[in-house]
């Protein structure tokens, strides 16, 4: 079975989220195992599990006419690394960090924002610690099917992207080899600004969006 590309997320404090392509001729599960074995050989320690999920809301028809704008997509995400928080984002728009009650508010807003339940996507997997790095290798699933692999690498002591991007790249190469990604596009000119969890979630959102689109393309290609 040919698999989709994996997403690598490099999220860092400075953190990077990206997709990892599935190895030729192997399943998602097997590729994840290859990666995690490489990490364990490096000396990384397993430290529990993680989960990042993303729900999609779109503005209901009732509000669209009045606002005079096309329906917008709002993403509400959760990250087990920040269990008390909820992240709400618009693509290319602001990212709100709120506490867990934001989910309750979305229920109250259901007349205005509809939850596209079929679009719910999540990444779950194991957390590894290697010195100052935190690596999370996750299987990205949408409903019952596995859609790809995400790899999140976090360099904990640093909050400015510019200061540690090279170090992060070097570390990633040691277990991802040629699949090491380039600097995430969302950073653009912001290399010197202080990193925040919202940046992590924005990277995951981009990743999940890429994966959703990919699936539609590769359905024809699945053997």
């Amino acid at each position: 079975m040919r698999l989709l590309n994996l997403f690598c997320c490099f999220l860092v404090f400075y953190d990077s989220v990206s997709q990892m392509p599935v190895a030729e001729g192997k399943s998602v599960q097997q590729t994840v195992e290859i990666l995690t074995r490489k990490l364990e050989l490096l000396g990384a320690e397993k430290q529990g599990t993680f989960c990042v999920d993303c729900e999609t809301y779109h503005t209901a028809a009732s509000t669209m006419g009045n606002q005079g704008q096309a329906g917008k997509l709002m993403y509400v995400m959760h990250n087990s690394e920040y269990p008390l928080s909820c992240f709400a984002l618009f693509e290319n728009g602001p990212c709100l960090i709120a506490d867990a009650n934001f989910d309750v508010l979305m229920v109250k807003l259901k007349g205005f924002f509809q939850n596209a339940k079929a679009n719910k996507i999540e990444s779950r997997g194991t957390r590894y610690q290697y010195c100052d790095f935190l690596v999370k290798v996750g299987t990205v699933t949408m409903g019952p099917s596995a859609r790809g692999i995400s790899v999140e690498v976090e360099y904990c002591p640093c909050v400015v992207a510019n200061d540690c991007w090279n170090l992060l790249m070097e570390f990633m190469q040691s277990f991802m080899g040629s699949h090491t990604p380039g600097i995430p596009s969302m950073f653009g000119n912001k290399h010197d600004s202080i990193y925040s969890p919202g940046d992590t979630m924005a990277q995951y959102m981009e990743l999940f969006n890429k994966i959703r689109k990919q699936q539609q393309v590769s359905v024809a290609g699945i053997r």
Partner: protein
């Protein structure tokens, strides 16, 4: 709703009566310390634990807890403020006198429904580093005439500072704003707020304000899970002790319109 008790990655910090200041205002009252979500990134990294959050902290989805706000309101003229504060200091829990200066903005989302969806965004003007407070208040529950307090559904959310930009992106528009300045007291789970409302003369400029009236609004409130009507008895008993300085009653906002 997600389980939010216990230890997360960052210790939960509680500000008494305060997340963006004690919330008050026509229809609003902050009932309990609002728990902080992920705070804005500090200028340097905090010591960070590397362990995974314990399994019990894993997000719990499904099921919401409906919190209700029980409210009694009254007012005192400016000249009676001091005697009321004196009485409250005596009756309430012993704590550092807490004053607040807040800026509240009320946002509306208009849809095809008859009534727009109202959200209140509040921030502290005198305390730095506190999260913004977003509040939803439902319609007052009608029914039991014997119930001593006004009861309505409420949802309180602590948020990052870009709340107003985010609300606008969602389609909300600001309807009005005001400044409140006052004192907050606590007795057990009851919160008592005595405050003055100020009109903002130039939109967005909180430096030029003027008082709306020659009196202070007094609010006694409790936020509790739905079904705990017995709390309104405690509120009535406490309100009795404040007479005749102030008469706190159940005021239906609809009757004022």
């Amino acid at each position: 709703a997600r389980s939010d008790e216990g230890v997360g990655r960052r210790p939960r910090r509680r500000k008494r009566g305060c997340a963006g200041g004690a919330r008050t205002g026509a229809g609003g009252a902050l009932e309990q310390p609002v728990k902080r979500g992920a705070p804005a990134a500090p200028p340097y990294r905090e010591a960070k634990t590397m362990e995974a959050p314990p399994v019990t902290m894993m997000p719990v989805t499904g099921g919401t807890i409906n919190m209700m706000e029980y409210l009694l309101q009254g007012s005192v003229l400016d000249q009676s403020l001091e005697s009321l504060l004196h009485r409250l200091r005596g009756l309430c829990d012993n704590m550092e006198p807490e004053t607040f200066l807040d800026h509240e903005m009320v946002f509306l989302l208009k849809g095809q429904q008859a009534s727009p969806f109202v959200l209140r965004a509040r921030r502290s003007m005198d305390k730095t580093g506190t999260p913004w407070h977003l509040r939803y208040l439902g319609q007052p529950e009608m029914g039991d005439k014997n119930r001593h307090a006004l009861v309505r559904n409420c949802v309180d959310i602590a948020t990052s500072e870009n709340l107003t930009d985010f609300l606008v992106e969602m389609g909300f528009r600001m309807d009005h704003e005001f400044v409140t300045k006052g004192h907050v007291f606590r007795k057990g789970i009851m919160k008592i707020v005595v405050y003055k409302i100020f009109r903002i003369l130039v939109p967005g400029n909180t430096d030029s304000i003027e008082p709306l009236s020659l009196s202070y609004l007094v609010e006694l409130s409790i936020v509790a899970p739905a079904g705990q009507d017995v709390v309104s008895d405690d509120m009535r008993n406490f309100a009795e002790q404040l007479k005749p300085l102030v008469h706190l009653e159940k005021i239906d906002p609809k009757r004022l319109m």
